[in-house]
């Protein structure tokens, strides 16, 4: 077993254990921290694969952005002694069913995929390539999704400002 596979198994173990702990924990902030561990081991897997840009994006968006936001909202709303209630059996069964359907679909795809051995083992994607593809309008360009997402974000931003400002109009 070479280094890569040892590291891969360690990372996968961390990912699976922290993923399970994130959904089963009764303390909400601990669950958020385990979610963080799961997301960082995914980032580490990307590093292992050689996709540095994707790994850095995973860190800055999911860990530096989303998890920080989750922790922030927990800090504002939950007391340290707060424990989550145990979900009802019905909910647990339904979510287990949903997860199994999702996992089954993924596994089926993976097993049926032939995975041809790559002839060119140079997975390093440069920033230039990403940039030209992202704003390219030729074949394989992503300029339309890019613009759509920026419009979506603008809408979200305006909506947030409207919601935050509404209180001023109400009579006190």
């Amino acid at each position: 077993m070479n280094n890569e596979s040892i590291i891969f198994y360690i990372l996968s173990a961390v990912l699976l254990v922290s993923g399970v702990l994130a959904v089963t924990g009764r303390r909400i902030l601990r669950a958020a921290v385990f979610l963080l561990f799961a997301l960082s081991s995914i980032a580490a897997l990307y590093f292992l694969l050689g996709f540095f840009f994707l790994a850095a994006v995973q860190i800055i968006v999911y860990i530096g952005g989303i998890v920080v936001l989750i922790i922030f909202s927990i800090l504002l709303t939950h007391h340290i002694e707060h424990r989550l209630k145990k979900p009802s059996l019905n909910k647990m069964l339904m979510s287990a069913l949903g997860t199994m359907v999702g996992a089954g679909a993924c596994l089926l795809t993976i097993w049926n995929h032939p995975f041809p051995e790559a002839s060119n083992v140079e997975p390093i994607t440069t920033m230039d390539n990403i940039g030209t593809k992202m704003l390219g309008f030729g074949e394989g360009g992503y300029v339309l999704p890019f613009e759509l997402i920026s419009v979506l974000l603008l809408t979200a931003m305006i909506a947030v400002i409207v919601i935050a400002k509404r209180k001023e109009n109400l009579p006190s």
């Binding site: 902030l29 850095a56 800055i60 920080v68 340290i80």
Partner: protein, 367 residues
């Protein structure tokens, strides 16, 4: 061993690291070699952290004394140089206290987040030619990404202490770091427009004929100022230290920490200061590149004679001195002033600046 000593060249470390790699490869399999190299680099960085902590705490106290017309530490050792070693021993011997109603798991975990974030970030810092642990093609982006991990440690520390002051401190710190991260990123992006690459070694190579702060006209200078202000805020240092404001919050997020756990936060703060100064020196001041003046051959030769590592350390010390200068001259900002500064001034300035810079780069007006 003799082979290795012969390879030591203070102007270029590539032969030395290559020789170490070859010597290890001779006796071990590739897997074990990588492992040993990782351990060596880890130990080197831990040593660097310790030295940085000792030197920078001393520097901070002396600079503070200078600005307040005092002498600073003078008693232990020559001019008080051994003072920080005494402080470190004191911190090691202190009892690690634990609050009764704290969330123990997160309370113990939080300091590691902060220190690991610094560890990840310092790995990509180029110290001299061939003296860089990680040289990703996304180097600058990598540093910005991993340095955002530190805020999680601060937030967890404040919440798990189960203390109102700590919670307020960490909330302030979180709001501050999340907002100022934008300005740090954008000011660095302004320079990336000129360099055309994110790889730190290439950024340094591109400054062979002059540092970007001189070559990039006024926008580069504005970006440098914004970078300094925003990164001071991101470091939670004065005048933006309201996260730990002693007079209001006792000590903010690390009120409940003692002994080594406290010193983790303390050390990480100083190491982050070093990292920020190193990024600033690399992107704006040419990293380990010596100072060259046009066609003055003689002058350039003398400058080349000074080893790159000294150039790097001199530039880093210069930026660290400026940031310490901020701390001891400006009064602390209020939280609303702090957020106004970022969202209403720095961010718009930055956005306009980046457009101006893109225009200059497009026209080829930079040198």
């Amino acid at each position: 061993m003799n082979r290795l000593i012969l390879k030591i060249n203070i102007y270029d470390f590539t032969p030395l690291t290559q020789a170490i790699h070859d010597a290890l490869s001779e006796s071990f399999s590739p897997g074990i070699t990588t492992l040993i190299e990782m351990v060596i680099i880890g130990i080197a960085f831990i040593t660097l952290f310790t030295i940085l902590g000792l030197v920078m705490v001393y520097a901070e106290r002396k600079v503070a004394a200078l600005f307040q017309q005092r002498l600073g530490p003078m008693r232990v050792g020559f001019f008080g140089t051994a003072q920080t070693i005494a402080d470190a021993i004191k911190l090691l011997l202190k009892e690690p206290l634990m609050t009764k109603n704290a969330d123990k798991f997160l309370f113990n975990l939080a300091p590691f987040f902060v220190i690991i974030a610094s560890f990840l970030a310092i790995a990509a810092v180029p110290f001299a030619k061939g003296l860089q642990a990680l040289d990703f093609n996304i180097g600058l982006f990598y540093i910005v990404a991993v340095s955002s991990l530190g805020v999680i440690g601060i937030l967890l520390a404040g919440w798990s202490s189960n203390n109102k002051y700590s919670l307020i401190g960490s909330m302030r710190s979180g709001a501050q770091i999340v907002s100022y991260e934008l300005s740090v990123g954008l000011s660095l992006l302004t320079m990336v427009v000129l360099t055309g690459t994110l790889q730190l070694s290439e950024i340094i190579e591109s400054q062979q004929d002059g540092w970007w702060i001189f070559k990039g006209h006024i926008p580069a200078f504005i970006a440098f100022i914004v970078f300094l202000v925003a990164s001071t805020a991101e470091l939670n240092r004065g005048p933006f230290d309201l996260a730990e404001a002693e007079s209001e919050l006792t000590a903010g997020f690390h009120t409940e920490y003692s002994g080594m756990k406290f010193s983790f936060f303390f050390l990480a703060e100083f190491v982050n200061l070093f990292i920020v100064a190193a990024i600033g020196a690399t992107v704006f001041l040419g990293g380990w590149m010596p100072f060259h003046l046009g066609n003055w051959e003689g002058f350039n030769l003398i400058m080349d004679f000074v080893p790159p590592i000294f150039w790097f350390l001199a530039k880093v010390s210069f930026i660290i001195f400026i940031i310490m200068w901020f701390k001891w001259t400006f009064p602390r900002l209020r939280i609303d002033q702090l957020l106004t500064l970022e969202w209403k001034y720095l961010l718009p300035i930055n956005l306009v600046n980046i457009v101006v810079m893109a225009f200059i780069a497009m026209q080829g007006w930079h040198f």
